[in-house]
Structures are given as structure tokens and as C-alpha cells.
Homo-oligomer: 651 residues x 2
């Protein structure tokens, strides 16, 4: 083939104007690394707004960047305050019962839930960039923290140590969250795909609801394990020994029905959001009154009991940074940190998109992280932006993060003066509140939509769901993330190669399987590789392309109509990257094809690929002008005209 | 925009012929899964040759498929035999000294190395499809097995248990290898990229060479650890206590010089391959004679000592399938299995490419696996195709796997009759043989080539190299594989988005950065996404595309020359796959852009992407004809003509 190079080149020039493939402009290795680094860690270019500003403005912008309150604070007025007071009071009425309930879910003293709804919202109001986030403890993180810590320490026999571990985990969760934001590694939470979260949430909601059977049925000895099997056996096994308390059951299910009804109203008519927002507090007050009036605490209904008045006591002396439980505490911090971060960021982004403003993911991570670090030394456990309360906040018309301050002030008043009122609050009502809150986490329409669009995503969803139910909360999560990543790796290990054909009357070449009117060009096999070429797939590609060429030759032999294979054209438009294995792959492929008298032609290598092809030893062989074209159309046109030209030369 | 839909559609039809984007033909979910499964696990379509054959032919083909010896056996003749005898004897002369040496490297009795060169080659000759592979123990796998097992059991104090663990590890290695082949999961070894292997081999070679200082310097108390630090400190620390043996040093370095010289000759003149191939055996004989004649074993030179005559004793009763060391044994089996498999497959593929025949990766894995399983119950430790011996085999003119049979027969004769001859063989000569063998694993030109083509690959190489030297053999390997996979994931998390421009005089659109003569179209922002869109990158893409549009609008404001942004055209030619998160991404992007008065236009979605876009809820919004085009050129042409048309309508 190469002996005819000159005459062919000449012909090419006569035949048509061919566009050159060029490498991207030269850049030093350092600059390339710098660019890559910037794109990886600073895709949003956070320093853009500082460019070309005076020093003073830079300082002000810098302060506003770190403390978003300085951005909206100066323009704050009475009208905004009015809206924020309404929404702040609304979420406070939700935060009090939910705080107590979620603390119980994490096996912590109920008052810790109230403490956690006081300090963190204040920190977030200063540092956070979302206007809608309602900060406080959330169900999933509470569930995970409780279940992980219970593996090593029993909250019943050693409540102080358990509390210490909870605060320490919160510290590590915060440290981890803030570091992710600071190191701009926020993309790590992206590995929790939507499908994973839908399955995980649904599984966790079922586990949490089942756990609440303990308070709803008034069972005293209940399993601490989280699997569906031990919980169910705990429910039905106990029936033989201790009778359930009918007073508890009656009260529990009446209030559960009431709460679910108000929740339904709130969903159907968003304007009546206050019905569902106020219902938990109303239920708590009603239930407390009933117990107080009927002295039901002596008739088998367990109550919260005395809660201490006063604001958050300091807890930094309770943090554990060494000792035998350090590993557990760090692991718990990591997992609750990542889960609560995912919820907080997702909630922030959702409402920002609705109101058309931006939240900066990395900044949010720092805000949530700092809030948990401070929280861990002021008797708070892990907190984040809660989905349900943020929705209520949004519906109640919140305008700025000041609604969190209003909520915190309300909590402060509660902590200082209203604690005795909770003495007779029955535990059963907390169970009902938790069940109502987590029912919303089961999103069947989203699961159905996932099934419709992408079967594999649905498998991931199902694995997360079943994993949480039958293995453990963290186990289910790990399996789902593992499968998601495996799928991505599989896509790379087995990249698609498709055969292209010409759409008649154009010089467009498209997938022959997808476009039925596309036609093949005799003598040409035109393939498109649809993935980066790297160590993980070169072996596969070699085998697959060999099979394509053999299939082609087999067909030629069978039909005896077509001419033999002359050119293997590979369209690299979809190959975004290549590594040294990929370069060797092309060299070997070229060698193998040459032995069969087939010429390898490459089309449209993108910048990086083109550069590496040229830089490789013997790379000029691959990147020489008569085997490199800008479009498939030009390649086919000039190669076939060159062929004709050659034959006419021989005549 | 949509209110003008009808008039625009009309205009489009007048303006030009636009080609439709069509989804691929309908296929049931089951068929799709079947296809995907086939492409993933049977890319080579192994049953192809059976199609349309008679039952008898099918049986014959099937037997030949399982036992490749039936393929070449019937046509075997004297001429082939002559070549195979020459090459078989040559590799046998290499296998005897190397077998003894590598067994010592693994802290096993020297005779195990000879046993391992007898049974496995016979099995491979029946099952293997490579014609050039010379089977036996290899340095890297021996090194790893020895160093891993020594972590828990000392071969000096408990030699029997150590031997049992070695056989058990070999069993698990074989089981793992055969399973990989049988389950067609061979692509797992592809994750050991070339760069990883270059770095790993070089590091291991240095470690092994340093370890040989023990025999070369005649040091008696030597560290069992594999890191470079303990080995070096072991060498220099000992100098103060025990003097080195000068006789050993003299003998060791003379023979080392001789072996390295012959190796050099063998490389420079491939025709003189027999010089380097025969040198180890010659050295062993010479050294043995010297020791025997001078009674040097009484002067500080340690010798191998008495070896038992006779063939491999059975060892199935020595396999451990339970007990405290099971975890270690399985881990060792897994790692040595994967490493030796990688070497064997790579060697087979290399020589098959040279001689232009095919080896089937999965079949090779089964052959190597079965050979190790059988080996483990006949006193052999882990074996595979050795690179150096296969090269000698190839150079010596081997024609079929029968050369392995010749080698095995030679070994049999040795085991039965020649064992007393090794009684006076000095250990120092084994060290010299090992050093000569592993020096070839340090491939500096390949490392330089990697640096030139791909800096990141070089970092991977360096990590493997330094990891092996300073952490541990398995540690270095794990780090390098981890980094390789992380890199692939990073490519997906941060996909490239590039801005396209029109190459004047054509309807080709290419990267503006790469093609300096490409020009932008006013009112259009044309982006190309160069990766599958999935959960791991939708957040990034959203941020990055928002920044592209803001940059565009900023420029418009500054120059006031261009018209505002009307269309965001996204070329999906390089998006090979999409998941549910990706679909949501497009929906959200469309919503956000609509608020800014910008229309989202998609170009050339590939089969799977097109299908999922259509199947999604509201997907018809994304896939409606006036926002979906087959090429960027058509999109720009028809949208700008539609614009003009609209304005003229208003006039």
C-alpha cells in the first residue's frame, strides 16, 4: 500500500479538498496538569467574581463568600422578617416533636433532639447559602447512628458512654463534611445515585416504621437489631410472653391515623401546609393532656418523663479521640456524615432550582460540616437540612435563612421554660410522628419511572432496598454504590463498537442498526468506538474488531458479490481519552490488519487522542495524512477516489 | 418559542431537507438483556464455528475445543517432532536450574521446583491453546507466595505446615483461575494495566535481586521481610557481627558476570539464543564440580544437599480447607493466581500475535487453572507460562505444545536418575540465576515511552514501583490498580465538554480550541459532551454548562456586538450511555434554560440514549422534532433559517 503513497497523495490532491486533522495547540505538561486540576476541583471557577475588582471590594466579596449572611443581611427588611417569622414558627412547631422523636430513634435522650434543633440552625444561618433549608436532626441519619453505635455499646446499660460516642461521631461527621467541601471533593457524594437513594430511603423507612412497632404496640423488650427478620420475630415472638398494652395501641393508632390524614391533606392541597405542619405539635399536646388527665402513665402507657430545663450544656469534654471505640466512631461519623450531607445538599439544590438561585455545593458542605463540629461540643448530634421540614419552610413562605434563627429562638424559649410540659408526653405519640415522617420516603412513582427508563438502574434500586431490609443499613448502601460503580466500569470494559453506514444523498455516516436506510460502502468496514480506550478494554476491542473483520470477510466469501475488505475506518469521535495501552492497541491492530492487506484509517481523533497518537513511537505511522481524516465522509470519498486513481495508473 | 412551532415547522420544511433522528428498532427487555449479556461475556462468540454443522462434526469440534491437542495431534509428524525435541530439551536445561532457584525464592524445598516443572507442562500440553508457552514456576509468583505465607508461618521452624499452605494456596489459585475462565470473567485481569505491570515488575525485580544478596554474600541470618529498607539494613547491619564468606562472594559474582554476559549475547543475537539458554545449566554443573573437587562445602559455601529421587508424591492429603490459616491461603491463592494468570495470558498473546494465530483468553485461563489444581495434589506449587523460557522456546523453534511434553520427559529422567548430582550444587549459583532472570523484568525503555505518551500512566507506574519497594508486593499492586480505576472514574466524574465551531466552507463542526480556523455561530452555543452521562457527572455537567452559558452572555454584554444566546446545541455523538440521572439532567437543564429564553437542542443521540429520552416522562419534550437533529450542521442551518423565517413572518 505504502509504495503507492506518492501517486495516491497526488490523486488525493486532485480529487478533492481534504480537511486536515490537527492536534490541539501545544501546552506544557505543567499547564496541562494545571488545567486538568482546575477542571476537576474548581469547575465552577469560584474566584471568577473577584477578577478585576478593587482590593476593598475583594475583601467585602471575600467576607460575603465565607459568610453569606453578609450578602442578604444588609438588605433585610420588615417584610422579609414577617415572612420568616411565620415560616420559622411553623418549622419550630414541627422541630420540637420531631427532634424528640428522632433522638429516640437514635437511642439518645429526647432532650438531645431539642438541643440539636437550637445551635446548628444558628450556625447555618450565618454560613449557609440556601434560603429554604430547615436545619435539624433527620430520620435516616438518626437511624444509622443509633444502629451503628448499638453494635458495640448498649444505650440501656451504658447511656453515658453511648452519648459520648454519639457526640464524637457527630464531630467526625462534621470534620469529614467540612473537609470534603474544603478539599473540593464534593463529587464523592455524587456516587450515591438517585436510584440508590430511592431504594435506600424506602428500605430505611420500612425498617424505621417496623422499629416503631415497639412504641406503637407498647412492647417492652424489643430487639436492637435493624434487619426486617429480627424485628418481625421480636413483634410476634413477644405476643406469647407479655401482652401488648391495649391503651397504647388505641392511642398510637388513633394519632397515627390523624397524622397520616393531615399529611395527606398537606400533600393534596399545598396551601393547607399548616394542617400537616401543625398536626405533630397538636398531637403531642393532645396526647400529653390525655395522659395527664387520665393518669394513663399508671396504666401501661410509657411517658418521656422529666426533662431538664436549660440551654445546651457544653460537651467538648465528652468527645473521644482515642480508646477502643475510635474505629467505630470514625466509621459512624463517615457514614452518617455522607448520608446527611447527601440529604442536605439535595434538599438545598431542589429548592434553589425551584426559586432559581444558586447554591454552591462545596460551600454548603463546609457550612453543614462546621455546624456539626460546633454541634458536637454543644450537646448536639448529627444534623443537616431535613427534606420534610424544608418543604414546610418553603410552603410557609420563608425568604431567607433567618427562618432558622426564628426557629432556634423558639426552641430556646422551649428549652428554658416549657420543658415540664413534656413530662407526661407518651412515647407512643413519638412513634406515630416518626412513622408519618418516614412514610414520605417511600417513593413508588419514582421507582416505577426508574424501571421504565433504565432497567439496570432499577436493579441498583432494588439491591439498595433489599440490602437495607435484609442485611443492614450500611450493607445495603455499600452494595448499591458498589453495583453502580461496577456498572460504570463495565461500560468501560465493554465499550460499544457499532458499524456505520452512509445515509443516502448525504455524507453523514450513522449506526447501521439504528438507521435502517443507511447503506454500507463496498470494500469499507466503518466502525465507531463509543468509549475512552484504555487498559481495561483494549483486549476486548482487539477481539471484537477482529470479529467484525472476520464477519465481513465471511460474508464476502458467501455472497461473492461484494469486493474484499480494503479499508477499516475507525471513527474516534466518541473516544474522549486514550492511554498507553490504547496507543499500543492501535499499533498492534495496524500490524495485524497489514498482514491481511487491510489498511487502518482513523477519523476525527479528539485533541488529547490526536496528541498522544503523534507522541507515540511510530505514532507518525498511525497519524500520517493518508490514514487520518476529519470526517468519515471525506475518508471514504478520498480513499475510494484514490483507489480508482491507482487502478487507472496501472492501466 | 413553542407558540411559533407551527409556522417554524412549515418554514423548516421549505428551507431544507432535514434528516430525522430515529430510535433503534424495538427490542424486548429480555432480548436487550440477552444481547448485553452476550456482548459482555461472549464477545468472541465461541459457538460460532458450531453453527450449521452436523452432529458428528459438532462432537468432534467440541472435543477439539476442550482439548486443543486433538486439533494439532492428528497432523503431528516427524518434522514437527524434530523441532519440538530441540526446543523441549533447551527449555528443560533452563527449567531445571530455574525450578530449583524459584522454589528457594518461595522458601520451598528445591525439589518442589522440579516437581512443578513435570506435571503442569503435561496438563498444559493437552488443554492449552498456545504453541509457544513454556510452563513452570515463575519468579514473581514465587516471590509473592513466599512473602505472603511467611507473614504467618516460618518455613524454617515449621517447614511441613509451610509446604501444606503452599499447596493449598496453589489449589485456590488454580480454582480461581479456572473459575475466571469458566465464568468468562477474564476481563478482570485487564484491570492490571501495562503501566502497572511495568512498575510492579521492576519493583519486584529489585526486591528479588536484593533478597539474593543473602546467598550471593553468604549471609546466614537474613530478614524474611520484602521491603527495601529491612533488606538493606539486613545486609549492612550483619557486616559488624558475622563476616561475609569470601569464597561465596567470589564464586557468586563470577558466575553472575558469566550469566549476565551470556544473557546479553542472547539478546543482541537472537540466533545465539542457546548461549543464554544453556548458560544456567552449565553454571550449575561447573559450580557443582568446583564444590565437589575443592570440598568447598566445608569452607563456608552452603550447598543444596541431598535431594530425594523419584517422581512427584501425591499431596492431596496436604491441602488445607479449614483451620486458622484458611484466610491467608485463599488470599495468597487469589493474588498469586491473578499475577501468574496475567503473565501466562500476556505471554501467550504476545507469541500468538508474532506467529499470527489466536489464543482464546478464557480457554487459557481454564487450562492454567486446571494445571494448578492438578499440580496442588501432585506436590507442585503455582505455575504458569514463563516469559523468559517461552521466549527461549520460541527462539529454539518450537512448533507445538509438544515441546512441553519433551521438557516434562527430560524432567522425569532427571527426577528419577540424576538427583544425586545436585547434592553439591552451591546455593550461591541459584541466587545468580535468579538475579539474571529478574534483571530482564526491569524495562526502562517501556517506562520512558510511557512517560512520553501519558504522564498519568507514568504516575501509576511509579506508584506500583515505589509501592512494591517501600510498602509490600501486594500493597504496591493494590495501590496501582486503585489509582488506575480512580483515574477511569475521574474521567467519568469530570467529562470534557468542549465548544464546537464551524470549519468555514463546510458543515463540519469541531472543537474550537483544537481547530483554530473554526468559527462560532452568533446566537448559538454548541457544546459537545464527551462521556456517558450518569449519576456521577450530572451535577458537574449542570454546573459546567451553566458556566458556559454565563460566559457567553458575559461576552455578549462586554462586546455588545454579538446577538444574545438563542440556542444551546448539545452534540451527543460521544455520549454512549445515559441513566435516569442523565435523563433528569436534561429535563432540568431544559427548564433552567427556558427561564432565560434559551432553547435546548440535542444532536445525534445514539441508539440507547435516544430510546431512553423517548421513554422518559415528558421525554417527548426533549425528543420533539424541532429540538432534535441528526448533525450539528443541519441543526444550525434549519434553526437559523427558521429564525429568519419567523422574523419575516412578523413583518
Amino acid at each position: 500500500m505504502s509504495s503507492n503513497f506518492d501517486s495516491r497523495q497526488e490523486c488525493l490532491e486532485i480529487a478533492m479538498e481534504v480537511h486536515q486533522v490537527v492536534p490541539p495547540p501545544h501546552m506544557s505538561t505543567f499547564n496541562k496538569l494545571k488545567n486538568r486540576f482546575k477542571e476537576t476541583f474548581f469547575p465552577d471557577d469560584p474566584l471568577r467574581q473577584f477578577k478585576g475588582k478593587s482590593t476593598k471590594t475583594k475583601w467585602i466579596l471575600g467576607a460575603q463568600y465565607i459568610f453569606p449572611i453578609l450578602q442578604w443581611g444588609p438588605n433585610y427588611d420588615l417584610k422579609l422578617l414577617k415572612s420568616d417569622i411565620v415560616s420559622g414558627l411553623t418549622i419550630a412547631s414541627l422541630a420540637i416533636p420531631q427532634g424528640i422523636s428522632y433522638a429516640k430513634l437514635a437511642s439518645l435522650p429526647p432532650i438531645v433532639g431539642l438541643y440539636s434543633s437550637f445551635v446548628p440552625p444558628l450556625i447555618y444561618a450565618v454560613l449557609g447559602s440556601s434560603r429554604d433549608l430547615a436545619v435539624g436532626p433527620v430520620s435516616i441519619a438518626s437511624l444509622i447512628m443509633g444502629s451503628m453505635l448499638r453494635q458495640e455499646v448498649s444505650p440501656a446499660t451504658d447511656p453515658l458512654l453511648f452519648l459520648q460516642l454519639a457526640f464524637s461521631s457527630t464531630f467526625f461527621a462534621g470534620l469529614f463534611q467540612a473537609s470534603l467541601g474544603f478539599l473540593r471533593l464534593g463529587f464523592i457524594i455524587d456516587f450515591l445515585s438517585k436510584a440508590t437513594l430511592i431504594g435506600f430511603m424506602a428500605g430505611a423507612a420500612i425498617i424505621v416504621s417496623l422499629q416503631q412497632l415497639k412504641s406503637l404496640l407498647g412492647i417492652t423488650n424489643f430487639t436492637n437489631q435493624m434487619g426486617i427478620v429480627p424485628v418481625l420475630s421480636s413483634v410476634f415472638h413477644r405476643t406469647n410472653e407479655i401482652s401488648w398494652s391495649w391503651q397504647t395501641i388505641l392511642m398510637g393508632f388513633s394519632f397515627l391515623a390523624f397524622l397520616l390524614l393531615t399529611r395527606h391533606i398537606g400533600i393534596k392541597k399545598p396551601k393547607l401546609f399548616w394542617v400537616s405542619a401543625g398536626a405533630p405539635l397538636v398531637s403531642v399536646i393532645l396526647a400529653t393532656l390525655v395522659v395527664f388527665a387520665s393518669k394513663a402513665q399508671h396504666h401501661g402507657i410509657s411517658v418521656i418523663g422529666k426533662l431538664q430545663e436549660g440551654l445546651n450544656p457544653p460537651s467538648w469534654n465528652m468527645l473521644h479521640f482515642h480508646g477502643s471505640h475510635l474505629g467505630l466512631v470514625m466509621k459512624t461519623g463517615l457514614i452518617t456524615g455522607i448520608i446527611s450531607l447527601t440529604e442536605g445538599i439535595a434538599v438545598g439544590r431542589t429548592f434553589a432550582a425551584l426559586k432559581n438561585y444558586q447554591v454552591d455545593g462545596n460551600k454548603e458542605m463546609i457550612a453543614i460540616g462546621v455546624m456539626n463540629i460546633v454541634g458536637s461540643s454543644t450537646s448536639c448530634y448529627v444534623t443537616t437540612g431535613a427534606f420534610s421540614r424544608s418543604a414546610v419552610n418553603h410552603n410557609a413562605g420563608c425568604k431567607t435563612a433567618a427562618s432558622n434563627i426564628i426557629m432556634a429562638v423558639t426552641l430556646m424559649v422551649t428549652l428554658l421554660f416549657l420543658m415540664p410540659l413534656f413530662q407526661y408526653t407518651p412515647n407512643v405519640i413519638l412513634g406515630a410522628i416518626i412513622v408519618t415522617a418516614v412514610v414520605g420516603l417511600i417513593d413508588i412513582p419514582a421507582a416505577y419511572q426508574t424501571w421504565k427508563v433504565d432497567k439496570f438502574d432499577f436493579i441498583v434500586l432494588l439491591c439498595a432496598f433489599l440490602g437495607v431490609l435484609f442485611i443492614s443499613v450500611q450493607g445495603g448502601l455499600a452494595i448499591a454504590v458498589g453495583i453502580s460503580i461496577f456498572r460504570v466500569l463495565l461500560q468501560i470494559t465493554r465499550p460499544k463498537t457499532v458499524m456505520l453506514g452512509n445515509i443516502p444523498g448525504t455524507d453523514i455516516y450513522r449506526n447501521l442498526h439504528q438507521y435502517k436506510d443507511a447503506v454500507r460502502i463496498p470494500g469499507f468496514l466503518i466502525l465507531s468506538i463509543e468509549a475512552p480506550i484504555n487498559f481495561a478494554n483494549t483486549t476486548y476491542l482487539k477481539e471484537r474488531i477482529t470479529r467484525w473483520t472476520e464477519d465481513y470477510e465471511g460474508e464476502v466469501e458467501k455472497t461473492k458479490k461484494q469486493s474484499g475488505l480494503r479499508f477499516l475506518v475507525i471513527d474516534l469521535s466518541a473516544v474522549s481519552a486514550i492511554d498507553t495501552s490504547g496507543i499500543s492497541f492501535f499499533k498492534e491492530l495496524r500490524m495485524v490488519l497489514e498482514k491481511k492487506g487491510i489498511e487502518l484509517v482513523l477519523v476525527n481523533p479528539l485533541g488529547e487522542v490526536m496528541e498522544k497518537l503523534q507522541r507515540a513511537e511510530d505514532g507518525h505511522e498511525l497519524a500520517k495524512p493518508d490514514s487520518l481524516f476529519l470526517t468519515v465522509g471525506e475518508a471514504v470519498a478520498s480513499l475510494s477516489s484514490a483507489c480508482k486513481c491507482q487502478s487507472s495508473n496501472y492501466v
